[in-house]
Amino acid sequence: MIRLDSISKRYGAYQALDNINLDVRDGEFLALLGPSGSGKTTLLRIVAGLAFPDHGSVLFNGEDVTDLKVAERKVGFVFQHYALFKHMTVADNIGFGLSVRKRRERPSKAAIRARAEELLDLVQLRGLGDRYPAQLSGGQRQRVALARALAVEPQLLLLDEPFGALDAQVRKELRRWLRHLHDQMGLTSIFVTHDQEEALELADRVVVMDHGVIEQIGTPEEVYMAPRSSFVSNFVGETNSLPVSVRDGQAHFFDRHIAIEAERMPDGPARLDFRPHDVTVGDEQPGCLPLLVTGVYRRGGDWRVEGEVTGVDRTIEVNLDARMPAPEVGKRLAIKVQRAKLFQLSEVKP
């Protein structure tokens, strides 16, 4: 088990990480999700031993490894831009970690080559051992990088935006394959991503980060369905936000009453976040929002309707069943919010 205990890191005046506490369970596939500058890559590098915290400690299975260098931590690290050694063949790249061992621990050349071939099989690149990295596609290069990291049998696999440099189709294929490999080999993995779709699809648990702090830790289901802050609900999945005020356990959008549970909320300004698919079209009854339709297009089995609500700067986006006739642009729709989250405005970061 990996434990991060009150990790802080500062670069000059910039607080990259602020008191991070996190446990990673054995066999877990954990995603660090956040926008750029959220500190997720710094945290990964601290786990790897490529960066060192100002405060706090890193524990691997109860053992304090905070001061150990990357070479001593037995972790596999995969870089966004692969970082393959371009003057070496694919097989030499994969065998590198074995070939730099001390003489008495080093396998023979033949054994290293055999191990490389084995790993090439594992990453489905059989027969490409004598190629050079420049002769491979992006997806193939990342597989080689993965095989190279796995060759030293790491206790932990760390991946820094591993699919970031690949095109959409390859990315999708490779990430499913990676999840499969993780399960098959019984690895413990942490990967960094800014792509919420990737995190939700792949990870057992998602750690949402922003401005050097953890906003929420949870399963993809929890993070999506029960965001703990407005930042999480906006960053994970699509969200519309309405400025509302709470009075006597009731949410009001200007003078209009919104039928959303607000019983435990104190009075005052708040933010109402709802997903595009959590709405229905109602009639002009109380509790509905008047949406002026500005655009309609098809998205799979839904109409994606873009519109304006008076008093909101951002375009409101909702999904409506495409079996219904498409709403007309320029018409007003009465939208009823079925499910939403309310956040007190003092909790909402600017």
């Binding site: 070479a71 870089f79 393959l84 050694f85 730099v100 992006g138």
Partner: protein, 280 residues
């Protein structure tokens, strides 16, 4: 019709420009170079050969080779270290260090020589101390080596800094994460990545080390057979109106320049090729 005229006009301008350029290069670069060889050989091959085997010429050639053999490796080591530090680490005073590395380029070589005289000369800061221990630096080989190292310092570092900065730290970090030591990482990952750039820097550094005149002239003392390098020897011969010998030795330096140029072109070609194949 107008278009054709404009086109032929542009063609004429092109030919004119190329012609002027060739004439200029021929007049100011090729002709002098040819004349160096022509003058050297004007009394025949025997006189040319005699000028080169003459003892003072021989010692000048040996000294030049010795100076290059010391200063080039020293600058390779320090240049790689400086480039490594600047390209791969962040630390305060980094831009100041880059400025200092460029200093020898912006200071006149004569001033560079004078700095060493002020430091190590008899009347210099360290002069009395050196005299007490009977160490001679100025007007001796150590001074020439020091001055040459100073003048040629930027060549290797300047070549490597942008290259290493562009390559980033990923490769090194990957090697370290796979369990390699710092030295293994340098030898097996960094060095192959920079080899062509390094070779290019070494060539330029070597050419300058062998050809340096100003700084070496100040610290050498011009002792025949002892502290004369090839450029200094050429000057002495020329001042003595011994033109054949002067140009014979000069032709050796010119030959060095030509060899450097050819090697440089080959390295550049390999370098571009390697860079071209890097793309992600």
């Amino acid at each position: 019709m107008n278009g054709v005229l404009a086109l032929s006009g542009r063609l004429q301008a092109r030919h004119l420009l190329i012609g002027l350029m060739l004439a200029f290069i021929g007049l100011f670069l090729v002709l002098p170079l040819v004349s160096v060889f022509a003058e050297g050989l004007s009394k025949g091959f025997a006189a040319y050969g005699a000028a080169l085997v003459q003892p003072d010429a021989q010692s000048a050639i040996k000294l030049t080779l010795l100076v290059a053999a010391i200063s080039v490796p020293v600058n390779v080591v320090f240049g790689v270290m400086a480039a490594w530090a600047i390209a791969k680490f962040d630390f305060p005073g980094k831009s100041l260090l880059i400025t200092f590395i460029d200093l020898p380029f912006s200071v006149s070589p004569v001033v560079a020589g004078l700095i060493y005289v002020l430091m190590f000369g008899m009347q210099g800061w360290l002069g009395p101390w050196l005299r007490d221990y009977d160490i001679q630096i100025i007007f001796a080989v150590p001074g020439i080596v020091l001055a040459t190292i100073f003048v040629t310092f930027p060549f290797v570092a300047r070549e490597l800094i942008p290259l290493m900065a562009e390559q980033g730290r990923d490769d090194e970090e990957a090697a370290l994460s796979l369990g390699a030591s710092g030295f293994q990482t340098f030898l097996r990952v960094t060095l192959p990545n920079i080899r062509w750039g390094l070779l290019y820097g070494v060539l330029l550094c070597n050419a300058r080390a062998m050809g340096e005149f100003g700084a070496v002239s100040v610290v050498s003392g011009h002792l025949r057979g002892l502290t004369n390098t090839m450029p200094l020897h050429v000057e002495i011969l020329y001042n003595e109106y011994n033109f054949v010998a002067a140009f014979a030795v000069a032709s050796l330096l010119a030959l060095l320049a030509l060899v450097t140029l050819v090697l440089k072109s080959i390295v550049e070609w390999r370098f571009d090729y390697q860079r071209g194949s890097v793309g992600h």
